[in-house]
Every structure is written in structure tokens, then in C-alpha cells.
């Protein structure tokens, strides 16, 4: 099963979804996304992943992804296949998927070894002027998982902040799961129908999951927990360290609410809402 997740890049990453995938011991997933910060590293380290189609896998503010390294270099916990992309090429692959095109012709990656390392790409002479171009074939993930500030129960989901490739990925996917900080049936959602990410008809499930993106930020809701990324980097340096991190933060908690309780005061300090009301968590 292929899953596009973390499509806004560094913010709004649905970590709550990835952690539930790890708890349910899903296997042989193909991950699709430009840069999902440490989410891809965690799913790889937990043995859930067979293939990665991405532009970047690591820890954005701390450095290399230790689990990604172990998987590629030593086959721990298992071998994975990598299909290299750049941010632009994966965005175009998802755009092709979104509009039902077989491929998009682009000028990026010409001269890069990525164009040869990814066996799905083809180079051709443009039928218009003969210039070289790279053909990036469509990616149509089985599932796109997006996190947002607010959705109605039908899946009219509004994401404030940068979208990255969220729009293209959600349209390209066969199904979309929305993780919403707030779920509301208020008419305001229908009064601004240009704002939902995709038509709710694309959305198969809406999950009310406050704090779903921690430690990544969600605009207007909570800040990025920078130290959390540094701590993960230090603890995941060895496979044993990673397993104990997972035992503490993923398999050792039943759900996201328990995870947030475990964060405790640290979670309160990340509150970025302009309201001074206590958060409803």
C-alpha cells in the first residue's frame, strides 16, 4: 500500500497517524512525500516500510536519519528500496496523478544522477523544439493523509500555512484521511468553499485528533518542538536506542491523548493560539 504523508514538508506532519501505523504493525508500505522530517525515519526504523519515494529523508534540524541509514547501509531492521526524487519532481509526479496525466515533462533533474537512478523516469527530446526534457510519470498513492486546523465532519478540511504538495497529493490519491485539530459543522466552512484542500467527496475519513502533528508545528495552533527532534536524533543513533524511544513514545502509549499527557507541561508551552483561553484537550 502506498501512502503520501507529510506533504506540507516540515509543518503539519501527521505523526499521530504514523504512530498508530507502528502500533498496528503495518508492513510493506510504500511512502510517498517530498520531506516528512523524522516521520519517514520512524516508520522505516519500525520495519513498516518496503519502499520510499521521496526527495529527502532525515532529521531536518538535527541531521541525518539514523534509521534510514541503518536500513540502506545494513538492512536493519530490513532492506528498503529507494526511488529518488527532488521536491519539484515529486510535486510534478503527484500533479500528473491529480490531473489524470500519464506524466509531466520537466527541465529539472537534467544532468542529475537522480534522473538515471530512478528507473521510472525517461528522458526525451521535446516534440516541439527538440530540447531535452525529463518525463516524470504520475504517482497515484493509495492513500493521502493530511493534517489540518479545522474540518467539517464530511471532510471539507482547511489547512492554514504552507501546503507543499498537499493539494496535489490529496487529488492524486485514491483515498484521503484527514486529521483535524478541530471538527466543526459550523456554516462558516461552507461560506468559504474555496478554502478546503480538496472536495470532501475525496475524503474517506475525518479524525478529530488534537495535537496530531507534534513535534512538527501547526500554524496558529502550536509551535515546533525543536528539542524533541534533537532528542530523537540522539536516542535513535543506535537501533536499541530507537527501540527504546519507540517503546516510550509510540508503543508505550495507547493513543495520541496519552502521548500528549506524557508530554505534559512541555505541550502547554508550545501553545501558539492567539486566544488566552486554556486549550480544549
Amino acid at each position: 500500500m502506498s501512502i503520501a504523508i507529510g506533504c506540507a514538508l516540515e509543518p503539519a506532519i501527521p505523526f499521530a497517524f504514523a504512530h498508530e501505523v507502528i502500533r498496528q504493525r503495518k508492513r510493506d508500505l510504500a511512502l510517498v512525500g517530498p520531506i516528512s522530517d523524522i516521520l519517514f525515519d520512524q516508520l522505516i526504523g519500525a520495519g513498516c516500510v518496503a519502499r520510499v519515494e521521496a526527495a529527502w529523508v532525515g532529521n531536518v534540524s538535527a541531521g541525518l536519519g539514523h534509521c534510514y541509514r541503518r536500513a540502506l547501509e545494513q538492512g536493519i531492521p530490513r532492506r528498503i528500496e529507494v526511488r529518488d526524487h527532488s521536491n519539484f519532481s515529486i510535486a510534478q509526479a503527484l500533479l500528473a496523478g491529480a490531473i489524470g496525466a500519464q506524466y509531466i515533462a520537466t527541465k529539472t533533474l537534467l544532468g542529475s544522477d537522480i534522473a538515471r537512478a530512478n528507473p521510472t523516469f525517461k528522458e526525451q527530446a521535446s516534440p516541439f523544439d527538440g530540447s531535452k526534457e525529463l518525463l516524470v510519470p504520475a504517482i497515484t498513492p493509495d492513500l493521502a493523509v493530511v493534517a489540518c486546523q479545522v474540518s467539517d465532519p464530511d471532510g471539507s478540511a482547511q489547512l492554514n500555512g504552507p501546503w507543499g504538495v498537499t493539494y496535489e497529493a490529496a487529488l492524486a490519491a485514491k483515498a484521503v484521511i484527514v486529521l483535524a485539530e478541530n471538527v466543526t459543522a459550523q456554516p462558516v466552512i461552507r461560506h468559504t468553499p474555496n478554502r478546503p484542500i480538496v472536495p470532501a467527496t475525496k475524503v474517506t475519513a475525518v479524525v478529530h485528533e488534537p495535537g496530531a502533528c507534534h513535534p512538527s508545528p501547526l500554524a496558529g495552533m502550536y509551535q515546533r518542538d525543536h528539542a524533541f527532534f534533537q532528542e530523537y536524533h540522539a536516542e535513535s543513533r543506535t537501533h536499541d536506542g530507537f527501540e527504546s524511544w519507540i517503546a516510550g513514545w509510540v508503543t508505550g502509549v495507547p493513543d495520541r491523548a496519552a502521548y500528549l499527557r506524557k508530554l505534559g507541561a512541555r505541550w502547554q508551552r508550545l501553545d501558539a493560539r492567539e486566544s488566552f483561553e486554556p486549550m480544549d484537550r
Binding site: 514538508l9 521536491n87 519539484f88 537522480i114 504552507p162 507543499g164 496558529g220
Partner: protein
């Protein structure tokens, strides 16, 4: 000013590479701070593009750990999809882009994908391109920033993630690359300019020397006739850098 860190020197030099009124693809880490310095000094009309879909005419008011941090979203000129900013890049509307790398060769080809010859079974799996390869292919000019080390400045890189001048000459044109190429390589020891597709040492930092750079460079070093000492950051620039990164999270990393 011996207490100026290599990171601070590199930020100050990177800021000088941004010209007023330019549209710049701002990378991660040190370039984030270089953009702030340029905006607050000689390039107040520069525009910053961030690949996740952010356009800023004012730098974020506080230190960014990633380009997706809330302070980079709030007050942005525009915020939306990656394809919009990548589209500007492919249309040739971006003057300069920043990029770093694990390895570079004398023609400015960068590797951020893998050390070792088998991509699927590398000796070291690096994170990958991100938007680096796109910037290297499509920006009007490329500004490269990286630590100086013999293992990093190599005669030949294991994998060309972000193409520089290939094997030199008209390689980029033959490869079908629309424009651009590396203009400058800023390292922890010195500054190289690209002349006919090849890196030429233009200056060494005050803490280094041509001899040290030769010893720590993996290719036969070419040195400019007028090689000089890299200009130190002006006091106001240093104040800006330290005010923005008071803990030295990016500018004193590993020191």
C-alpha cells in the same frame, strides 16, 4: 575578531552574494540567516522563496530551525503550494539559490544522496536532494555553502545529486540544463569562484591560508592571481547574526 566563528564568516559572505531586488531561493541553516543579514543591510528589496510554498518580503522575526516554523508563515507575503515557487524557478524568475552538500567536486557537482558507488546499498545514506537539485538546475546562479574537508572537496563525487558544470566546458548545455550553474563556493576555510566551470580559490578566511586549503582540498587547487583574505563581517553584521542566532544553533554548530 578572532572569536568570529566559521559559521558567522560564511553567513556574512553568503549575504554579500545576494543583490538588492533579487528573488532568492533560501535554503536551510546558514542561508536562512544570510537572507536576514542581506535584507537588513544592502538588499532591503530582496524577496525570499521557500520551497514548501512561502514567499517573504520580510525575514521571519526570530531564528528558524526549519522553513516551516510558524514564524516563517506568519507575516509572509504569500503562502501556498510548492508548485507555485518551483514554477517560478523553472520559468527562470529566480536569480539565485542556496544549497549545501556532503561532497563537491572542482566543477561544482554536489552529492547529497549517498557515499559509495551502489545507490541502493551505500556506505553512507545521505538525506537526498530536497529542493537542491531543482535549484542547481533551474536558478540563474547557485551559491554553495559547506564545511571544508578533504573528504568533502573531492576530485569526483560518488553521485551527482545537484549538477554543477559536469565535466566542464559546455556540459550543462549538452545535458539540456536551461541556465545557471555554481557562481561561488563558500567553505569554512575560503571562498571559490567558478571560472569556465571550474572552482578557483578567490580568498582564504583570516584563520586559514592557501597552503591549508590546498592540503584540505581533494583536487589540484587553482588559485586566483589576486587571491586575498576574506573580508571579516562588519560589526553591525556580526551584531545582526548574533542577535538572530544568540545560542549559535546554526552559526556555532559543532564548535
Amino acid at each position: 575578531m578572532s572569536d568570529v566563528s566559521a559559521g558567522e564568516l560564511m553567513v556574512a559572505q553568503a549575504a554579500r552574494e545576494i543583490r538588492d531586488g533579487e528573488t532568492v531561493f533560501v535554503g536551510m541553516r546558514l542561508p536562512l540567516i544570510a537572507f536576514v543579514v542581506a535584507k537588513r543591510t544592502h538588499a532591503p528589496n530582496a524577496i525570499g522563496l521557500f520551497e514548501l510554498g512561502i514567499v517573504r518580503d520580510e525575514p521571519a522575526p526570530e531564528l528558524l530551525y526549519t522553513m516551516g516554523d510558524n514564524p516563517n508563515v506568519d507575516g509572509a507575503l504569500w503562502c501556498g503550494s510548492m508548485l507555485a515557487v518551483m514554477g517560478m524557478l523553472q520559468r527562470g524568475e529566480v536569480h539565485a539559490g542556496f544549497i549545501g552538500g556532503a561532497e563537491i567536486d572542482r566543477h561544482g557537482n554536489l552529492n547529497t544522496t549517498a557515499i559509495g558507488t551502489d545507490r541502493q546499498h551505500p556506505t553512507v545514506a545521505l538525506p537526498g536532494s530536497g529542493g537542491g537539485a531543482d535549484i542547481a538546475c533551474l536558478a540563474q546562479r547557485l551559491i554553495v555553502i559547506m564545511p571544508h574537508d578533504k573528504r568533502r572537496l573531492r576530485e569526483k563525487v560518488d553521485f551527482i545529486t545537484s549538477p554543477g558544470f559536469g565535466t566542464g566546458g559546455d556540459w550543462r548545455r549538452r545535458a539540456g540544463i536551461a541556465r545557471g550553474g555554481p557562481a561561488v563556493l563558500i567553505t569554512t576555510l575560503g571562498v571559490f569562484r567558478f571560472v569556465n566551470g571550474e572552482a578557483v580559490l578567490a580568498s582564504h578566511h583570516p584563520t586559514s591560508s592557501v597552503d591549508e586549503i590546498r592540503a584540505k582540498t581533494g583536487w589540484a587547487l587553482r588559485v586566483a592571481d589576486d587571491v586575498r583574505t576574506t573580508e571579516m563581517p562588519a560589526p553591525d553584521v556580526l551584531r545582526l547574526i548574533r542577535g538572530y542566532d544568540p545560542q549559535g544553533f546554526w552559526t556555532r554548530r559543532g564548535e
